[in-house]
């Protein structure tokens, strides 16, 4: 589309800068992935290919602890993503389909603020909030906190999708005797679906990966995968941590890819 002179590859220094960025970002990840297949118990010396640390993750001494943490992580991620997606859909409808209302700009700011506030601030504030109202730390506090900070991540793809849907579809539905509820469920929601799926998956991954907030609001004894990994690392890095990290990384990659594909799917059959 752009001419050759516009091509970013022609700027001097493009290649080395890009390589440095890519190596810094992905080098450590690749090393973790490679060493998760290391036969040696040392984390720096290569001792041949083996799947023993994966076996250790599922059947080793620490397996019950990690299984429990994985169960917590997944159930929390599913519930947090579902709830925040529903809230995000409602928010997007209010922001984009209900005309102008007082405080609209403020609402948008509030919705997207968690993306900009340092996570540690949110974590501390959430912890103080829970202890002030006397909410006992544990599974429930993690869930509530996750629902709250997942909303902006679910909101962004949903709102982007809704913005691209012309309002005449709903008008046509209402013109053809549909109630507002029918117009939403039969016309608008199917059209929004790629955005909703994308928002859900993004929220799911964000919840699954979260460490800082979770670590603050979790009670003693309740762990999610990231906090369990952190706990294990504090007693020395063992190769089984690399195996878990690799599994978690694969899962994230799969979900982010699905989220991207869901977003794509919509833009193709639109109009």
């Amino acid at each position: 589309m752009t001419g050759k002179s516009q091509d970013i590859r022609h700027y001097s220094g493009f290649l080395p800068i890009s390589l440095i960025c890519l190596v810094l970002l992905y080098g450590p990840l690749i090393i973790v992935m490679i060493y998760s297949f290391n036969d040696s118990p040392s984390i720096t010396v290569w001792g041949g290919f083996s799947l023993r640390w994966y076996d250790e993750v599922f059947h080793g001494l620490e397996a019950p602890k990690f299984k429990k943490a994985a169960f917590n992580s997944f159930t929390i991620a599913i519930m947090a993503a579902s709830t925040s997606t529903v809230i995000a859909v409602c928010t997007a409808l209010a922001m984009l389909r209900c005309g102008n209302f007082r405080g609209k700009a403020v609402t948008f700011g509030l919705v997207s603020l968690p993306l900009m506030v340092p996570e540690i601030v949110t974590a501390v504030a959430t912890l103080i909030f829970f202890s002030t109202i006397g909410f006992k730390a544990g599974y429930a506090t993690i869930l509530v906190a996750h629902i709250a900070f997942c909303i902006p991540f679910a909101y962004l793809p949903i709102a982007a999708r809704l913005q691209g849907i012309e309002s005449f579809y709903e008008e046509a539905a209402v013109d053809l005797y549909a109630s507002r509820l029918q117009a939403f469920f039969q016309i608008l929601m199917p059209l929004m679906l790629p955005g909703i799926i994308s928002g859900f998956l993004l929220a799911f991954v964000i919840s699954l990966d979260d460490f800082i907030i979770t670590n603050f609001v979790k009670g003693a004894g309740v762990e999610t995968l990231p906090t369990a990994i952190f706990g294990a690392v504090k007693q020395g890095i063992k190769p089984n941590i690399m195996a878990i990290s690799t599994l978690l990384l694969m899962l994230s990659v799969i979900f982010v890819t699905l989220s991207y594909l869901a977003g794509k799917m919509g833009s193709r059959d639109k109009g």
């Binding site: 005449f168 046509a172 209402v174 013109d175 053809l176 005797y177 039969q186 199917p190 059209l191 059959d269």
Partner: protein, 366 residues
């Protein structure tokens, strides 16, 4: 039955915004649309025609006035309770549904049973000649086909009135012309009231039973296409519909059936008053003379009512257009059919006479 009123619009006024910021969208619109009529709202963009259509459809509210549909007020009814369906400008076909489901949507929402919906959908597909395409998605159809689906979808629930919001504007010229006939054919076969919005005067003239010309939120004139073309109520209508020459003049004298008018530049012309109101002596008027109501002759011939200098001639295919200067700043446009032999007798710079078909001249004051 023929004169039954489908929609009676009384003194509808609409403002956007409030207080001193408000802008007037519609002012005191009153019009009666007859049952089974092809009624067109015609005007330039921003004249309020689409707003009026959306008010009838229930998509816009309005401040004053009343709308009666077949004897019942629909002012308080939401859009989904009005027995009125719309063909939207961009069709608004539901992209995730098949053509059949699109057409059947209204019936489904009305709670009709599956067999009835299937039967009616078949009927509609047949009517718009798309029987083969029922299982496709809208994106797999051409613009003209999507247009016909949008029409079928609006017709399927058998509404009392069908509203069409510039439905042909997205089509190319050839398709637009064939869709005009198609629309008329379908309306005549079903016997429904159509309210059609367009800014295209040719579309309005060729399709409508009656036309309402709108400008700046007000109705300028309501009448048959011939009536609007031949007897424009004011300068706006004369200028907007077709082409016309608007020549400033002063009424010098009036008799019972004619007015003596002096044109800017000093020449005089006598205009019969058989089909227009009598102006007052001394009135400043615009004489509306359509280009096809004039002919060119020798400047000294007895039939020459105005004389001028030929400035330019342009070949337009079926017609030849002449620009004739009758005063320093006034150019008259005259159009003759290309088949006439006399076309090439004149050259730019020649002094020519103009014969005016005087019965078609209109004196307009506003």
């Amino acid at each position: 039955m023929a004169d039954e009123i489908a929609i009676q619009i009384t003194q509808v006024t609409k403002f956007y915004g409030s207080g001193t910021d408000s802008t007037r969208a519609l002012h005191d619109i009153s019009v009666a649309i007859r049952h089974n009529e092809f009624f067109t709202l015609l005007g330039p963009s921003g004249c309020g025609k689409t707003t009026l259509l959306r008010i009838i459809g229930g998509f816009e509210d309005f401040q004053n006035g009343e709308i009666i549909l077949h004897g019942n007020s629909i002012k308080a009814l939401p859009a989904n309770k009005r027995p009125v369906n719309t063909v939207f400008q961009h069709y608004a076909l539901f992209p995730h549904m098949s053509i059949r489901d699109n057409i059947g949507f209204g019936l489904k929402m009305l709670g009709k049973n599956a067999a009835e919906i299937r039967e009616r959908t078949d009927e509609m597909l047949d009517l718009v000649k798309l029987t083969e395409y029922g299982h496709r998605r809208p994106a797999q159809l051409s613009g003209g086909q999507q247009q016909r689906v949008a029409l079928a979808r609006a017709l399927a629930p058998a509404p009392r009135v069908v509203l069409l919001d510039e439905p042909l504007s997205a089509l190319d010229l050839k398709l637009r012309q064939s869709m005009r006939h198609e629309l008329r054919r379908i309306r005549e076969s079903l016997g429904m009231t159509f309210i059609f919005v367009t800014h295209d005067q040719e579309e309005a003239l060729t399709m409508s039973d009656r036309i309402a010309v709108m400008s700046e939120g007000e109705l300028q004139q309501v009448g048959s296409p011939e009536d609007i073309y031949n007897n424009p109520a004011n300068i706006f209508v004369a200028d907007f519909i077709g082409q016309t020459n608007l020549i400033p003049g002063i009424v010098k004298a009036t008799t019972a059936d004619a007015a003596q008018c002096q044109l800017a530049g000093g020449q005089s012309i006598e205009v019969p008053l058989a089909r227009q109101p009598t102006p007052n002596r001394g009135d400043t008027v615009k004489l509306s003379i359509r280009p096809e109501h004039m002919d060119i002759c020798q400047p000294d011939s007895d039939s020459a009512q105005i004389t001028g200098v030929l400035k330019e001639q342009v070949f337009l295919g079926t017609d030849m257009q002449f620009l004739i200067e009758i005063d320093d700043s006034i150019l008259l446009m005259v159009r003759l059919q290309s088949t006439q032999d006399s076309l090439h007798r004149w050259n730019p710079g020649d002094q020519v006479g103009i014969r005016v078909n005087i019965g078609f001249v209109r004196l307009l004051t506003s």
